[in-house]
Amino acid sequence: MAKSRSELGQIIHGVARDPLGLMGLIIVGAIVFCAVFAVWIVPYDPVAMNIKDRLQEPSATYLLGTDQLGRDTFSRVIMGGQVALKVALPAVFGAMAIGLTLGMIAGYGPKWLDNVLMLLFDTIRSFPTVMFALAVVALVGPSLQTVVFVVMATSIPTYGRVARTQTLTLRNSEFILAERSMGASMARILGVHMLPNIIGVLAVLAAMDIPTVIALEAGLSFLGLGVKPPTPSWGALLKDGYSLIRQTPWLVVGGGLPIILATLGFTFLGESLRDVVDPKLRKQR
């Protein structure tokens, strides 16, 4: 588990030795690179319209052609990666932080609190994700924040349950008992002693959760219920491409392939990370 630099180095080394892990590392690296440096990579302004050049086929000028408003598809694909990560990263880290805290409290705190939290987790999990998302969007309206909120709310239980299980198995181990006998507070025990032992497993979960989040954002945007136009999200590309599917295939391809690629990359990386960080987990999923 990543406590020191050398250990982190070992983990990365372990992932890079596994062919699938290396592929995941490369894909994820490329996506993150494109997202971070998007502004310098894109050949055109992704929201600038140019009606004269609408619905162009791919060419040297427009690598992936243009859409119905003459916007460069390639530029929109690259910028879309930034939007995807802008939704996925805060949502996943937020859900992880809240789920971790609640899960540790459930596992370490009094029994009644455990029961209440577990019931809450089970309830949230009982909504089919997309249906829950649609209900929230119907009530508060579509926006980037809504998507982040929905994703966070629906994935908190996953992290919470894993953190709880881990805490339960650790709560009676000797180093925790020793700390407790010396009168350490609950916050100190959980934060200083429990956390480092749980965070690795949760980080693996987070890596495997990112594709789901990216897909959900793209899905909602595809339905016109995610990020607002003209923001170039992959889902928005698919939405435009769907209505133009008989005129040009390039919008659907341009929106669809990055989603599949991102999903593949994060899944490969997550699986490989899991095998390196905690081989025991392999059986559980």
Partner: protein
């Protein structure tokens, strides 16, 4: 077993009650007067007052919740704002389309997945096993709606092998229209189920009753097909039950992409027309379905494997 069943369904009921309450409070917590939203800005005050009384919005919140539960018990989810039909009837009109799609998707992917998984487990580390593993990992991740869009593009628009929109008429017409959406939804499940079956199969193959069966000279084929597979498909039952929520979610997208009637299309159309009673009704009914299928999967598991009964 009976005790377990009662406890499991008790939990399911509790979850449903909390879920419905959360849903109810969510609707009420949203800023804005629901009556005004429903009737639009041009409604007369008399009309607003009448609808307010009809929806019991002038009562305190706990009383509203009780009325809501009372109506729910009688299967009354409210009235459609536009047509005046009962929401329950509208939702149950659309539900069969969605269920047919889900059933078709899980059927083909489970059959293929179990077959692939069993074959891979019987011939571990062969070329086919490797290929199956690679395909599993790659497809597990593919989001259903992206697969739906790409298959629409390739098989319906370009190759024109299958119809692009609608649900079709007659048995063969319906079947023809089911192929692409069911393919899109099921694709990620094939690999998932194959991996699951392969793993549990390898575990089962090491157990003593398999060794005994082999010692009796039963053919390897029969050992795999009859003795091992029967136990190895147990996890698939659970996964499908728990996966009902994902299946429903994928079905929503597939219905939009292929312009099929069903729950998904109903919800999306209702959101665009701000028809809240239908949105909430659909969400409640699909949540109920999901909770029931999860509980059912747990029960089937407990029935097939007594060890599962002790764990809560």
């Amino acid at each position: 077993m009976l005790l377990y069943a009662i406890r499991r369904f008790g939990l399911a009921l509790l979850i449903l009650i909390v879920a419905v309450t959360v849903m109810f409070l969510m609707i009420r917590a949203v800023p804005g007067d629901p009556v005004q939203i429903m009737l639009g800005p041009r409604a007369t005050p008399e009309l607003q007052a009448r609808l307010t009384a009809e929806l019991a919005l002038d009562q305190p919140i706990w009383k509203q919740l009780l009325i809501f539960y009372g109506n729910l018990m009688r299967g009354d989810l409210g009235i459609d704002v536009f047509s005046g039909r009962s929401v329950t009837a509208i939702v149950f009109d659309q539900l069969p389309h969605t269920l047919a799609l889900i059933f078709a998707s899980i059927l083909w992917s489970a059959l293929l997945g179990i077959g692939l998984g069993a074959y891979a487990a019987a011939h571990p580390n062969t070329l086919i096993d490797r290929i199956a593993a690679a395909i599993s990992v790659s497809f597990v991740a593919a989001p259903a709606f992206v697969v739906a869009l790409l298959s629409l593009l390739i098989f319906a628009v370009h190759l024109q092998w299958f119809p692009a929109i609608g649900a079709g008429e007659g048995f063969w017409g319906r079947l023809d229209h089911l192929v692409l959406p069911a393919f899109a939804i099921g694709l990620s499940w094939v690999g998932y189920i194959a991996r699951l079956v392969r793993a549990s199969m390898l575990e089962v193959m090491g157990e003593s009753h398999i060794r005994t069966a082999r010692a009796f000279g039963i053919s390897e084929r029969r050992v795999v097909m009859v003795y091992a597979l029967r136990i190895a498909i147990l996890p698939v039952v659970t996964v499908i039950g728990v996966g009902m929520g994902f299946l429903l979610s994928s079905a929503v997208f597939a219905e939009i992409v292929f312009a099929r009637p069903g729950l998904g299309k109903l919800v999306i159309d209702s959101i665009t027309t701000r028809n809240y009673p239908i949105v909430m009704g659909s969400v409640l009914i699909s949540t109920g379905l999901f909770v029931a299928s999860t509980a059912l999967a747990d029960l089937i598991n407990a029935w097939l494997d007594p060890r599962a009964r002790t764990a809560t």
